[in-house]
């Protein structure tokens, strides 16, 4: 079974990075995965995005008609990707920048003030890791421990100083994701520990 996640937002919000962390975590969890930066029409209109597809079998199509999870870190991303979420899927919106719920009945909407939480954690650029934490809390596509190992792997190689803040941001996101859904709740929160 394949699960697809799109990370979208402004350039500089670390979306491609968060996607890569998820992809590395999938490798650590012995899963198949494909990470792809935005292509085609998705490259326009004030959004940067990447798609991560995780599965048990080698990944087929690198492009998805419908995503299982959309992580939308700014208003244009919610507008663009909100409608691409498959029924029963999850839409995580950055409520620091997105004021209203998207308003679909058939998907779980989770509003997380990612920018505010990132600022509390010490760095605006950690928004996407906060969102990734919330995502893993609601949809344990990979184990949280695998995400932490992936963060260590990716960040320690590039910016060892940033490692502690990155891990903290992910933990904050995990906690935020386990809180009750403030949007139009649908599916119950699955067990994050897996």
């Amino acid at each position: 079974m394949e699960r697809s996640v799109v990370f979208a937002g402004f350039g500089g919000q670390g979306l491609l990075f968060a996607g890569q962390v998820l992809a590395h975590a999938a490798v650590i969890d012995e899963l198949e995965v494909l990470w792809i930066p935005s292509y085609g029409p998705e490259m326009r209109g004030g959004t940067a995005s990447c798609t991560v597809i995780v599965g048990d079998e080698p990944i087929g199509s690198p492009v998805v008609d419908r995503v299982d999870v959309a992580v939308a870190m700014n208003p244009p991303s919610v507008a663009k990707f909100g409608r691409q979420v498959a029924p029963g899927g999850l839409l995580i919106a950055n409520s620091s920048l997105v004021e209203e719920a998207y308003g679909r009945d058939d998907v779980e909407e989770l509003q997380v003030p990612c920018t505010a939480l990132a600022r509390e954690a010490g760095d605006d650029r950690l928004v996407s890791l906060i969102a990734l934490g919330a995502l893993i809390a609601r949809r344990p596509i990979v184990r949280p421990a695998a995400v932490r190992a992936a963060i260590r792997k990716v960040v320690a190689a590039r910016q060892p100083d940033a490692l502690r803040a990155d891990l903290a941001a992910f933990a904050v996101g995990l906690r935020a994701g386990r809180e009750p859904v403030r949007g139009r709740a649908a599916a119950p929160a699955p067990d994050a520990a897996r």
């Binding site: 012995e30 198949e32 995965v33 990470w35 087929g60």
Partner: protein, 395 residues
């Protein structure tokens, strides 16, 4: 579950590293999207390995540097994308005429002209049908995953040296830009002898690497030798993969990224009651025409899926020889077919072939059917249209 040692690699970088592990001596390139990471990987890694990296003044410069290095017997890689590949057409002809082994990676982007930097498969005809002037062929390898691309780099060097020919690896922007986990299994094929290579005529008669044969008889003899070589390649180097074809009544033909979209579509379509299989050419030249003809004899219709306006479609039609309907679904300009789009096209093909097949041929031909715009059919409209007009949803 057994622990596998896998690393996440970007396609462009995996191709570059595979070439390095295959003992590539020299790389020559020029920046162009979407293959820049390949070029940059080589800029960093080749000097680390004590090998040659040169940023050329143009793709003309790069491919001609490759020509010079290959003439000495070196193992050489160049890479580019559409506009740069076009510039290389001149030297590709000289490489073929001079019988020099060079591996050329084309990370295809949207065209024509400057086009876009989005993924595309619009260089199929360029790669398989000519590119430069003169009567020549170039083996063309089309990976559909990053792991396969790594393996095919080694294969490309092998073919290039065994047959003394340039070899194309046709990837696309998605394969170049995507990351997938790969096992770090690299292959370093043994080198073929190169008794033709230049290196200074010490203790032997001088050697000349050239494509000029001004005497018509001599050039014809040279051409006949080249053609014999191409026949040998066509006879022995065809590669393809089939998936779920055993019980299929429809066959999708697709390569590279399009084949992955098709694989997902096959799985979904089967869940919805259709019975498609996937025929995936790995060598685009030589095209697996006999193999496809055999598959075509067992199904009722063929759907070609490409990130183009219908280029491989021509080879599929030649292989099928009009024995059954060949439909086409493609997107261009950096747009990519989606699994649902492929399934829609499959349904239209299914609807077209199902009733017709139950009727005698004459009756079927007499039916005045409304032609599907994206379906070339034996029955009725012969005016196939290259661009599919599948509804594109709300886009």
């Amino acid at each position: 579950m057994t622990k596998r040692r896998r690393v996440l690699m970007k396609g462009n970088e995996a191709i570059a590293e595979a070439a390095i592990r295959a003992s590539c001596d020299a790389y020559f390139g020029y920046p162009i999207t979407p293959q820049a990471e390949l070029f940059e990987w080589m800029a960093r890694r080749m000097p680390e390995e004590g090998r040659v990296f040169v940023q050329a003044e143009s793709e003309l410069g790069a491919i001609n540097m490759a020509l010079g290095a290959a003439a000495t017997g070196a193992r050489v890689l160049v890479s580019s994308s559409g506009p740069g590949i076009s510039l290389m057409g001149e030297a590709m002809s000289y490489l073929a005429g001079s019988e020099l082994p060079v591996v050329v990676v084309d990370v295809m982007r949207g065209g024509p002209g400057l086009g876009s930097i989005g993924p595309s498969q619009s260089d199929y005809l360029l790669a398989t049908k000519g590119h430069g002037h003169g009567d020549y062929r170039v083996p063309v390898l089309a990976p559909s995953s990053i792991a396969e691309a790594m393996e095919l780099v080694a294969t490309a060097f092998e073919l290039a040296e065994r047959y003394r020919t340039p070899v194309f690896i046709l990837a696309d922007g998605i394969l170049g830009q995507a990351m997938e986990p790969v096992e770090q299994r690299y292959r370093d094929p043994p080198r073929s002898e190169a008794p033709w290579a230049v290196g200074g005529a010490a203790g032997r008669p001088p050697r000349v690497v050239r494509s000029l044969h001004l005497e018509p008889e001599a050039l014809e003899a040279h051409n006949e030798r080249l053609q014999a070589k191409y026949r040998e390649i066509a006879g022995g180097e065809v590669r393809w993969a089939g998936e779920r074809l055993d019980d299929a009544d429809l066959a999708i033909v697709a390569y590279g990224t399009a084949a992955r979209v098709a694989r997902t579509a096959v799985a979904r379509a089967r869940a919805e009651g259709l019975r498609p299989g996937l025929f995936r050419p790995i060598t685009l030249w030589p095209f697996p025409e006999r193999e496809l003809a055999e598959v075509a004899s067992r199904v009722r219709g063929v759907l070609v899926v490409e990130l183009s306006a219908g280029q491989m479609l021509e080879d599929v039609r030649l292989a099928v020889e009009g024995r059954l309907p060949v439909a086409f679904h493609g997107r261009t300009g950096g747009m990519v077919p989606t699994p649902d789009g492929v399934i829609d096209a499959l349904r239209r093909l299914e609807a077209r072939v199902r009733p017709a097949w139950t009727l005698p041929l004459v009756e079927a031909a007499a039916l005045d059917r409304r032609p599907d715009p994206d379906t070339f059919s034996l029955f009725g409209d012969d005016a196939w249209r290259p661009l599919e007009t599948t509804p594109r949803g709300e886009r």
